[in-house]
């Protein structure tokens, strides 16, 4: 991967990567010591920033590509719509055809991807607003009970991120083990790859064919059985990962009880058991909903395969908006 510079270039590459790591660690430290905005963690903020930067750069990309069989085409849908509608002959039929082509083109990001992204945005915000039934928080004085809402998306978009990361790691390992033509019987049973040039590859058979999202669904309607298998796999794994994450991470039931109820209140045993059951149910239903939303985003084609990443970014943005709204309301109340 390093060029022909030898040890000097290798040392320079190591220094550059070390500087990048220091920048990331300092950003996280700045956030963790109280100088950042509450409500989201620094890692989630960086992942969401990366996803939004990718989406915006795809939308407004001024790169002009020369496709085979067609004229020059802008990569970004905004410039492509403007260019094609302006360059079409001045009859409504040709301009409508140009608009429809930009809506439905397959090899580059198109406008229907972004319309699906807007629909996914609305659905994710609506899901995040849903709370399960409210629980009681008992104060020492009788008659002053309070309600503690528990979000439906209790584990946010973490199960779909864990699922996508696990599938990607499995694909990378299998791609390396089956490099250089045909391997053994087990390797061929797990999947076969076809080279796509530039270090990329896509699966053409076996297990990796079904665990990866089906691409080009509009071209081949016969892939509906693959879509069904993939949907069941994604939804089931997201549900299981969400329940496991709710148990293992720092948003578990014990941490939730300590953080929300605090140490100054008395909690009945029945309330504790009810909180545990509601958190487990919220994690399962939230994982199911996130998996279904990711399958929908991937099937209809929300910016290629970036459905889970944008779903994660949407939820992070919504948490930031909640923090801003709460702060502005607090400032209004105090002033």
């Amino acid at each position: 991967m390093c060029g022909s510079g030898g040890a000097g270039n290798a040392a320079l590459v190591v220094l550059q990567l070390f500087a990048g790591g220091v920048v990331v660690v300092l950003a996280d430290l700045l956030h963790e010591t109280g100088y950042g905005v509450e409500g989201v963690s620094a890692a989630s903020l960086l992942i969401a920033t990366n996803a939004c930067e990718r989406a915006v750069s795809h939308l407004f990309s001024p790169v002009k590509l020369r496709l085979a069989g067609a004229g020059p085409e802008f990569e970004g849908p905004v410039f492509a719509v403007t260019h094609r509608v302006a360059a079409a002959p001045p009859s409504w039929r040709h301009k409508a055809g140009a608009l429809l082509f930009t809506l439905l083109r397959l090899d580059l990001p198109n406008l229907s991807n972004y319309m699906t992204t807007c629909v996914m945005f609305v659905l994710a915000v609506r899901l995040d607003e849903t709370h399960l039934r409210r629980l009681y928080r008992s104060r020492p004085r009788r008659g002053t009970d309070e309600f503690v809402p528990i979000k439906l998306l209790y584990t946010s978009a973490m199960p779909i991120m864990l699922h996508a990361s696990a599938v990607s790691a499995f694909c990378v390992l299998h791609l390396h083990s089956s490099g250089g033509g045909g391997g053994g019987f087990v390797v061929n049973l797990l999947g076969r790859w076809k080279d796509a040039g530039g270090g990329a590859a896509y699966p053409v058979g076996g297990l990796v064919y079904y665990v990866t999202p089906p691409s080009k669904l509009l071209v081949d309607p016969g892939l509906i059985h693959e879509l069904l298998i993939h949907s069941v796999f994604v939804v089931a794994s997201c549900t299981l990962l969400s329940m496991a994450w709710a148990e293992a991470s720092r948003s578990s039931a014990r941490e939730f009880r300590t953080r929300v109820i605090g140490t100054g209140y008395f909690v009945w045993d029945e309330t504790s058991r009810r909180i545990d059951r509601v958190i487990a149910a919220a994690a399962a239903v939230g994982g199911f909903a996130v998996g279904g939303l990711a399958v929908y985003a991937g099937a209809v084609g929300a910016i290629g395969e970036a459905g889970p990443e944008l779903l994660f970014a949407v939820l992070v943005i919504k948490n930031l908006a909640e923090t801003f709204y709460a702060k502005s309301k607090l400032t209004t109340t105090y002033s």
């Binding site: 100088y35 905005v37 990361s165 990329a200 896509y202």
Partner: protein, 124 residues
């Protein structure tokens, strides 16, 4: 002997790197940073991250990764790494260092003494 030399080198390196001071020591334990300043710090951090994500690495041949057919796409998306740039590692230094520290704590190799925070807000 080698372990002591490694610990001394690590301490020397840690002293050379910059550090973020604790915000609760500014005003006697009270969180003294206003919300507008928090927004400013967060925006500046994200801007630094975005600018570093556009700087190409010197000394590396241009590797065209990413896109829909790259199997490493989701590992890159999960760790917020941009492949041929300074941010090629992404969140990997953050996540793996936290993982290693948690493992050392679980195996009782290192001990953590953190008496600034109350018991229900103890971190790490």
């Amino acid at each position: 002997m080698a372990v002591a030399a490694a610990v001394a080198s690590a301490r020397l390196l840690a002293r050379l790197l910059p550090e973020v001071e604790d915000s609760s020591t500014n005003a006697g334990g009270v969180m003294a940073v206003s919300f507008r300043r928090k927004v400013l710090y967060t925006a500046v951090s994200l801007l630094v991250f975005l600018v570093a994500g556009e700087l190409l690495l010197y000394g590396v041949q241009n590797y065209y990764g990413g896109g829909e057919h790259d199997p490493r796409y989701w590992m890159n998306a999960m760790s917020a790494s941009l492949r041929p740039t300074v941010m090629a590692l992404g969140l990997v230094p953050l996540l793996y260092s936290e993982m290693v520290v948690h493992l050392c704590m679980a195996l009782k190799i290192i001990g953590v003494h953190d008496d600034r925070l109350p018991d229900h807000r103890r971190r790490l």
